[in-house]
Symmetry: C2
Subunit: 109 residues, 2 copies
Amino acid sequence: MTTLIETFAALSDPTRLDVIERLMAEGELPAGALVENTQMSAPAMSRHLKVLRHAGLVEQRVAGTSRLYSVRPEALKAIADWTMDHRTFWEAGMARLDAHLALEEGEGE
Amino acid sequence: MTTLIETFAALSDPTRLDVIERLMAEGELPAGALVENTQMSAPAMSRHLKVLRHAGLVEQRVAGTSRLYSVRPEALKAIADWTMDHRTFWEAGMARLDAHLALEEGEGE
DNA sequence: ACCATTATTAACATAAGTGTTAATTAACGA
DNA sequence: TCGTTAATTAACACTTATGTTAATAATGGT
């Protein structure tokens, strides 16, 4: 099992977050397609993909000379689960904030 | 506004993720209390708290010589919002996985 | 004023992350 | 088998992150 920390670390880089969002939007893509939209060399992207793979965020499928990458839904769900585990905390907090802001608004603050 | 990338980066360290979870569970705590449970020096923790603060994950309240830290619910909600923005993606993916696993089970795979 | 307490900033050492170019590996078609 | 295409690994440079101890700042009690 990959930890939540690894997952967050994997997503803490702009290139990698882009890759994830692109793969979610467009589906499975070869490494080459992921390099094209960036200013980055292929080796650099290759290593970012390795980080994502080790963190369990993407999986690789070999097809001829191409490596096709896709997002593993479990990884996304793990983050969703974590936020939901703490939902009562932040929902309560947001409600308090909303109430506070509404009060300030009413007072002409 | 702090970006999602900063948020993920802030949570990608074990010490910092612990701090966040502890603050959510126990509520506002002084820096000193957060150091006690760790093997870490106070200055190191102080800097972790600074990272969390700059990422908008916690806020600091001054009370005498103490600095009381608490989690900002907005930050947590930002992550929840992001996962929910992509919910259709990973829910569909999980459903596909479940179906696949059920099939394998039925086939005695 | 002085001292103790709480916490941060400064200065430094070391480890980890990220990019580059060059070299290597693997699949495919002529 | 030879050359082309797709991608990764190797070797290197440089920046960023993280920990330590020592020094500084600020509050509160006597």
